[in-house]
Symmetry: C2
């Protein structure tokens, strides 16, 4: 049986049910650890499921921030220092990654608490997560206020990438399964993936073929 749910039904849900429900509706999501360092040297690590591709040239990604405190630390560091890292989450670290969403005091580093290792390299200001298979160094570019619900879109340019050699195909595609990158749904569900296929570039009047 199909449930039909209206705006009134959504409004009538209790807060936590609505948060779980609406967060699930946007489908499987990219989930990653965002690493920053404050001007005073304090490090911060936070899990995000709102990473979105903005463009390839220049290479841009976006992140949505809610007005709540733990995310505010990360956003302030990004804007004040100009740098942050995005680190893919794999099966070995997803529990530690989830734990970073707890509301720790401002002077507590989620790196120390969770046992994940801050890694500095090639003069990049912000810490990478050593345990991540794919690490991305990003330069802050633009802050866009989303007034309808007081959230913020932060856009940055990718300037450093660390990825295992054997995960990058000849055509540029990265085999995320080989890198053990996982995905999430809702607020708290983690999933590994099984590739169904890669499909050829779609054209009118041409049959799709498999690229595998």
């Amino acid at each position: 049986m199909t449930k039909f749910i209206t705006s009134d039904d959504i409004l009538a849900m209790d807060k936590q049910t609505r948060v779980h429900f609406i967060n699930s509706l946007s489908g499987f999501k990219s989930v990653a650890l965002v690493g920053t360092k404050a001007k005073n040297g304090n490090t911060n690590l936070a899990i995000f499921s709102s990473l979105v591709h903005i463009g390839a040239n220049p290479p841009l990604v976006g992140l949505i921030f809610r007005p709540s405190p733990p995310e505010r630390d990360t956003m302030r560091n990004m804007i004040e220092t100009g740098f942050y890292t995005v680190n893919h989450i794999n099966e070995n670290i997803y529990k530690a990654a989830h734990q970073t969403s707890a509301k720790y005091d401002k002077n507590v580093s989620e790196f120390e608490i969770t046992g994940l290792t801050a890694e500095y390299k090639n003069n990049f200001f912000a810490p990478f997560v050593a345990e991540s298979t794919i690490q991305i160094g990003i330069e802050f570019k633009e802050k866009i206020d989303i007034q309808i619900n007081n959230t913020t879109l932060i856009i940055g340019e990718i300037t450093q990438i660390y990825v295992p050699d054997d995960c990058v195909k000849l055509d540029g595609f990265i085999d995320l399964e080989k890198a053990n990158t996982i995905t999430c749904s809702g607020l708290d569900s983690y999933h590994k993936t099984v590739q169904l296929d890669r499909l050829s570039y779609a054209k009118p009047d041409k049959l799709l073929t498999s690229l595998l």
Copy 2:
């Protein structure tokens, strides 16, 4: 071996390689079919991998649009009519869904071409995809220009939801695997998922437990 890739390396890639590579970096993505109807009655169906959760109350989702023509049709319909649908993609329809990305003439409906069925119900203006297990009706709310690369963020409010009864858990979480919803990576790779766990709400000094 880990490959270290810099801004200069990205710039030096040929265009198609860069597009595959950068699109893969944002991790596994939500992938869905967006259905619209023009004022003149023409229908349009397009695959998007940029759906992002914006907030639960009010229930808002965002979509990123590039300045290219096929997406422009969809965006114009959304803004001119005020309504669109987001339809989850399952294993049975991902090839048809991928085919909607071909550049058809403006007066060609991707519904007819791909054999996917336009479904109208409960007085919603835009067509749902009958073959989708989870269907969402959305009202256009806000258009935000991202000037750095001439893309656009469209935000809408969820007003109708169709979801199988047995996929919705007591706490509001939707079991997307039970609904056969799939995910994608890069431009052309489709994946089903295997749930690892659902984790309890994280708190300082409290061990995570499984919600399964």
